[in-house]
Amino acid sequence: MDTLATPAATSLAAAPAIDRRTPRWRAWLLLTPMIVWLVAFVVAPTAILFVYSFCERDELGRVVFSFTLENYQRVSDPIYLRIFLRSIGYAGLTTAICVVVGYPVAYCIGRASEVWRQRLLLLVMVPFWTSFLIRTYAWITILKQEGLLNGALQAMALVASPLDLLYTPFAVVIGLVYAYLPFMMLPIYGSVEKLDGSLIEAAHDLGAGPLRAFSSVIIPLTMPGIAAGTLLVFVPAIGMFAITDLLGGARVPLIGNVIQNQFMQARDWPFGAALGMVFMGLFAVSYWLLQLRGGASDELHG
């Protein structure tokens, strides 16, 4: 190990001063478009929302720049807290189902032969080429009373009368899982692909049957993938509103619906901004927590 450091150090010290400056310049230049985009479309709007959340509104719903904490006080109203919790509940359920459904699939793809891996990954990605809204509408066609699923079930004589599937929490969860499954599968696939096959053999060799090898070796080592997938699914799912509207019949408002309402029907932008800020805070906390876990596993691939 030590023998490696010395040649590298000497070569660095020997490099002329000019060479060391130029790469940094160029690096920043390459990053500029991305930084500009981020500042313009992420940082600036967030800052604007942050300012709005402390403002009041006029009759038409426009922002009036006078400082108030009223909006954040309203956020703590039990109505909205309840909605937050419910949204988190749906998101949590969605994430859990995505893990349970997505992990086996991602695992199989990750351990498949090179040729099959490409094909299967393509199958996972192809739905992305269709608009998200159209895919969600497709579920309406499947789940409605006279839809494909009910038709099939009745044709197979499994049910006597059509099932009430659409416009229920069941439909909402299906829609959410369907929308977010690829986001769970791809990071897990990444982790599985990096998995050293000889580790699984070693586990078997030492007496671990397939199940124990899975729980003792494979799951811990693919945990970074699961963590990344959770981050990509859980937080966005909390804010999802289109699926409740389309598949849930807009019966139960989730936090995304409430925020959308403030900017549309209720004409109360400052309150919507405050809700949005709290939601972002939630994301920051989740991210931080998952980073703690993920950081520990950085050593695994050290």
Partner: protein
């Protein structure tokens, strides 16, 4: 690399052409499912003016986006109460009535409404009501008003508009309270009523409530009259009823925002819409109540017979919405609370 450069050059050229042609365009901001594509295409064919059509699903969305100053809209379709608010805030441009030759085609009954008594800022587009549609093939009991709809027997078989203000107004009607007096006391009174109703509703949909009815997922509901008219047209079993307790009559208008760039094109479009043959096209596609007298002569008997489009007059009192200002937030709060209590 070369391909990339060429691509960017083409993109740049396109952008420049777009900017250059902006002068010969009309930015129309209207309700989804309210302006037929044929009408738009006809206008473009005749005048060469390209129409960019954006949509919204509620007046509040219109106001929000207009106020946000996002798009430069040249022509909008506010409802009466929304126009009232906008006029008060000086958001609409006064119309050059001399350019609107076809304004005389409008039935005077629809002019001089409270939101714009002098007719300086708005032109009637379509009128309608929000009432009850019933699939008489599935529902055998007589439905006369809101109370008949929101019965435990119809649990999970009801569709209503996803419009919080509408729902509150129906509840106010059932209690005999004025629908434009949104006070904390009145809201407290309607709260238990709506709380019961919300438990019975299957779908909340303002975009296309007819879908759920056609799919057979619901059997009856409270929807826009235009939606009910389309349903009646497809299947005569879908009957339309003006609720006995009272109903909301809306008048949708054409208006030009004060910040519009293409005011001339906007005027041309309004005058174009006011032509009887164009107005008929709109009625064919969206069978609301057409305020254009001349257009009525071109409509078929079946269209005029449609009980949703041209109600026979039995049923409750018809009222229009007035602007309620900040009280919209109180309504939203109440409905959010009740909806999430399930």
């Amino acid at each position: 690399m070369k391909l990339l450069l060429r691509f960017f050059a083409a993109l740049l050229a396109a952008a420049v052409t777009f900017a250059a042609r902006a002068a010969n365009e009309l930015n129309l901001f209207g309700w989804s499912e309210y302006v037929p594509q044929a009408v738009i295409d006809g206008f473009t064919e005749e005048t060469g003016i390209k129409v960019n059509f954006e949509t919204y699903a509620s007046n509040e969305e219109l106001i929000s986006k207009l106020v946000a100053g996002g798009g430069n809209y040249d022509l909008i379709q506010p409802s009466d109460y929304a126009a009232e608010a906008m006029i008060r805030q000086n958001l609409l441009a006064p119309l050059d009535l001399k350019r609107l030759h076809n304004l005389k085609n409008i039935d005077p009954e629809f002019l001089h409404r409270p939101h714009d008594p002098d007719g300086r800022f708005t032109v009637p587009y379509m009128s309608g009501t929000v009432g009850i549609v019933v699939n008489t093939g599935k529902v055998k009991t007589p439905i006369k008003g809101y109370r008949d709809v929101f019965q435990p027997a119809f649990k999970d078989r009801i569709v209503v508009l996803n419009d919080n203000r509408e729902i509150v107004s129906w509840a106010l009607d059932t209690l005999g309270l004025p629908i434009n007096t949104i006070t904390p006391e009145n809201l407290a009174k309607v709260r238990p009523v709506i709380a019961e109703w919300v438990k019975l509703v299957k779908v909340f949909d303002s975009d296309s409530p007819k879908t759920a009815l056609l799919n057979g997922d619901v059997d009856l509901g409270v929807v826009w009259s235009g939606e009910a008219a389309i349903l009646w047209h497809q299947d005569k079993r879908f009957q339309y009823v003006i609720p006995a307790e009272g109903a909301h009559q809306f008048l949708d208008l054409l208006a030009i925002p004060a910040t519009a760039k293409n005011k001339d094109a906007a005027h041309d479009f309004i005058d174009y819409i006011l032509r009887p043959e164009v107005s008929k096209l709109i009625s064919d596609a969206f069978p609301y109540t057409n305020p254009n007298r001349e257009a009525h002569r071109l409509l078929s008997t079946e269209a005029l017979d449609n009980p949703a489009s041209y109600p026979h007059g039995d049923g409750g009192k018809l009222e229009s919405f007035r602007d309620i200002g900040k009280a919209a937030a109180d309504i939203d709060r109440l409905m959010t609370d009740l909806k999430s209590a399930r």
